[in-house]
C-alpha cells in the first residue's frame, strides 16, 4: 500500500542530495528524520496510552494473586477450569457475534433506506438516527433499564396493551441476554448506518445502470454490485465493532450487572468483578486478555483482505 512506497521515497531522497556539513547535520536534514520527529508526539501518546498498559496487563496476568510471584499461564489454566468462566466465554461470544451481526444488518438496512430518500429529507432522518450513538451509553442504558424494569416497564405496558403477557426482561437469563443485545444494537447500529451510507454513496450510479442493462434485478444488483463494492467497508466495520463489542462493559454493568447468577457476564464485566470487586487483579487481567490472540488473528486476516482488494480495485 501507499505507506510503504512513500516511506521508500522518503528514505531514497537524502541519498541523492549532495553531502555537505557534518554527518549530524545531514542526519537532521533527512526527510525521514524530520518525519520521525514530527510523529514523535503521536508515537509517545500511543506508546504511553496503548502499548504500555497492554504490556503491563500481559505482565500482570502472569503474576499470582498478591502480585509477588511469576506463575506463567496458571491464571489462564485456573480460569479455563472454572465453570463460570467457561460460560462467560460462551456468553461473550454469543453476545458479541449476535450483536455485531444485528448491528450490521440493521445498519445496512437503515443506510439503504436513507440512501433512497431524496437528499432534502435525508439530512433530518440521518440526524435523528444518529442520536443513539451520541448519547453516552451509560446514560441511555439507564433509560433502557427503566423501560425493562419489572414493575414500571413501559415496554411491558405496550405489550400488555396489545394483549400479551409481561416479559421478564432482566429477570430471566435468556431474556436478560436478549435485552443486553437489544440495547447494544440500538446503541451501535447508527455507526454502521453512517459508514454504510457513505459506502453506498461511493458506488457510482453508472454501475447500477450497467447492471440493470445487463439484466440484474434489484436484488441481484445488491448482491453482485453493492455488496462486493462495499466489502472493504463491511469487513472493517465488522472487525472494528467486534473488537469494541467484545470489550463492552457499560451496558452489562448498568443493565444487569452480570446477573441473574452471572449468566449475562461478558469478559469486561467479569474482569471487573474478578479483578476489582474480588481483588484478584492478575486474574482479572487474564480475563480481559483472553480474546486478544483470537481478535489479533482475525484482524490480521481481515486487514490483509482489505489491502489486497484495495490494490486490485481502487
Amino acid at each position: 500500500m501507499a505507506p510503504d512506497s512513500s516511506a521508500a521515497v522518503l528514505a531514497a531522497r537524502p541519498a541523492a542530495a549532495p553531502a555537505r556539513g557534518s554527518a549530524m547535520k545531514r542526519f537532521a536534514r533527512r526527510r525521514s528524520t524530520i518525519a520521525f520527529l514530527m510523529t514523535l508526539p503521536l508515537i509517545t501518546v500511543i506508546g504511553g496510552l496503548v502499548a504500555w498498559p497492554a504490556g503491563y496487563a500481559i505482565y500482570l496476568a502472569t503474576l499470582n494473586r498478591r502480585q509477588t510471584a511469576f506463575i506463567g499461564l496458571e491464571n489462564f489454566d485456573i480460569l479455563l477450569e472454572s465453570e463460570t468462566f467457561r460460560s462467560v466465554i460462551w456468553q461473550s461470544c454469543f453476545f458479541a457475534i449476535t450483536a455485531v451481526l444485528l448491528k450490521a444488518l440493521v445498519g445496512f438496512w437503515l443506510a439503504h433506506m436513507l440512501h433512497h430518500i431524496p437528499a432534502k429529507g435525508q439530512k433530518i432522518w440521518r440526524g435523528m438516527l444518529l442520536v443513539p450513538w451520541v448519547i453516552p451509553p451509560a446514560l441511555s442504558t439507564l433509560g433502557w433499564w427503566w423501560m425493562f424494569d419489572p414493575s414500571y416497564s413501559s415496554i411491558n405496558y405496550l405489550i400488555n396493551a396489545i394483549g400479551f403477557p409481561s416479559v421478564p426482561w432482566l429477570g430471566e437469563p435468556w431474556w436478560a441476554r436478549i435485552s443486553v443485545i437489544i440495547v447494544n444494537v440500538w446503541y451501535g447500529a447508527p455507526f454502521f448506518m453512517i459508514m454504510y451510507l457513505a459506502a453506498l454513496k461511493s458506488v457510482p450510479d453508472q454501475l447500477y445502470e450497467a447492471a440493470a442493462i445487463d439484466g440484474a434485478t434489484g436484488w441481484q444488483g445488491l448482491r453482485h454490485i453493492t455488496l462486493p463494492m462495499m466489502q472493504n467497508i463491511i469487513s472493517i466495520t465488522v472487525l472494528f465493532s467486534l473488537i469494541v463489542t467484545f470489550a463492552n462493559y457499560d451496558i452489562v454493568r448498568v443493565l444487569t450487572n452480570g446477573g441473574p447468577r452471572d449468566l449475562t457476564q461478558v469478559f469486561a464485566s467479569y474482569a471487573f468483578q474478578v479483578g476489582v470487586l474480588s481483588g484478584n487483579i492478575p486474574r482479572g487481567a487474564a480475563v480481559s486478555l483472553f480474546m486478544f490472540p483470537l481478535l489479533a488473528i482475525i484482524a490480521y486476516f481481515v486487514l490483509r483482505g482489505v489491502n489486497k482488494r484495495n490494490q486490485e480495485m481502487a
Binding site: 450497467a210 447492471a211 440493470a212 442493462i213 439484466g215 440484474a216 453482485h224 462486493p228 486490485e312 481502487a314
Partner: protein, 366 residues
Amino acid sequence: MAQVSLRKIVKEYEGGVQAVKGIDLEIADHEFVVLVGPSGCGKSTTLRMIAGLEEISAGEIDIGGAVVNDVPPRDRDIAMVFQNYALYPHMSVRENMAFGLMLRKFPKAEIDRRVNEAARILDIGMLLDRKPKALSGGQRQRVAMGRAIVRDPKVFLFDEPLSNLDAKLRVQMRTEIKKVHQTVRTTTIYVTHDQVEAMTLADRVVVMNHGVIEQVGPPQELYHHPRTRFVAGFIGSPAMNFIPAKVVERGNGLVLHLPLGTELAVPEHRVARYKAYAGKTVTFGIRPEHLTDTQNVNKPHVAIFNATPEVLEPMGMETLAHIKLGGAEICARLDPLVAASPGVPLPLAADMNNMHLIDDATGLVI
C-alpha cells in the same frame, strides 16, 4: 436484432426542462445510426430513454415490434457502452463480460464460448483475468464493447464511447467499432458530439439541436444537401463559411453581392430555385473545400474573386487561409504550393455548383 422506432418522444425533467421535444425516428434492422449534436441537445437523454434508464414523458418507443415504454432495462434486450465504460471494478475482464449471461442463466460452456469469441474479435484474449484497474483506457473500451457483444442483444447503444480516449486511439477505435458492426450486424445507435465520428461511422446520421431533430440522412446527403443552417454549419470540418449576400438580378441570371464589392454569378441551373429571393438579403454558404486557389480550376461555374488572407495555417497536405470578408470570417483551402502570404491579395475560386443559400428568417436552406 431488431428495428427501433421512436414516436413523438418527449422528455421533461423535473423542474420543467424539456430535454427532448417530440422526436420521431425509424431505425431499420442492422442499421448503424449516429445521433450527433452540440452539448446539451438531448442526445444522451434520447439514448437513455431507449435503454430504459430514463422515463419517457410522452410518446412511444418500440423495439423489435413491441412497445417498451414500461419494460425495465433488463427486459429490453439491449446492451450499452458508457462514456466512462462503467466496468465492474471488482470483477475480472472475463467476469465483466460474462455477467449478463450469468444473470440470464446461460450454460457455462456457452458463456465461455461467447466470451472467448468476443475476446478474439476485440483482441483482448490476454487480458481476460485482469481487473479493470490494470487496463489502459483503450483496453477498458474494448472490454466494455466485449460486454455488449457477448450478450448478442437486439440493439447496441453507445454513449460517446470514445470521448475519453486520446486522438490517435479514438481514430483507431472508431475503425474497430465499424469493423465490429460489419461482423455482428447488430442494430446500433451511437451518440457523439463529434461530427467526424458521425460521418465516418453512420449509415444514417441524425443531427439534433435543442431537443429536436434537424435532419436525418446518410452522411453524404447531410454534407451535400443540408436542410438547415444549423446542419450546414455543424457537419464538415472546417465548418462551412457563412457570408451575408444580396441576390441581384442581372439579365436572365442572378448574381450575389458579397461584402467588399465582391460579385459571384449564380449557375444557370440554380437560377429558378433562387429567383424568388431576387433583391433580398440572404446568407451565402460555401464550404472551405469549395473555396480554393485558382490553380487548375477549369470546372464550370467557378467564380473568381480577390481576397486578402489574414492568417495562413499550413496543414501539410493543404493550407488553410483565414480571410475577413466584411464582417464575415471565412476559410479557404489552398494548395500548399500556392505562394500566398498574409496581407497580400490572392485570387480565390468559389465552386458555385456547391453553393448554398440560407433564408435568414427560417434558417432553412433554400
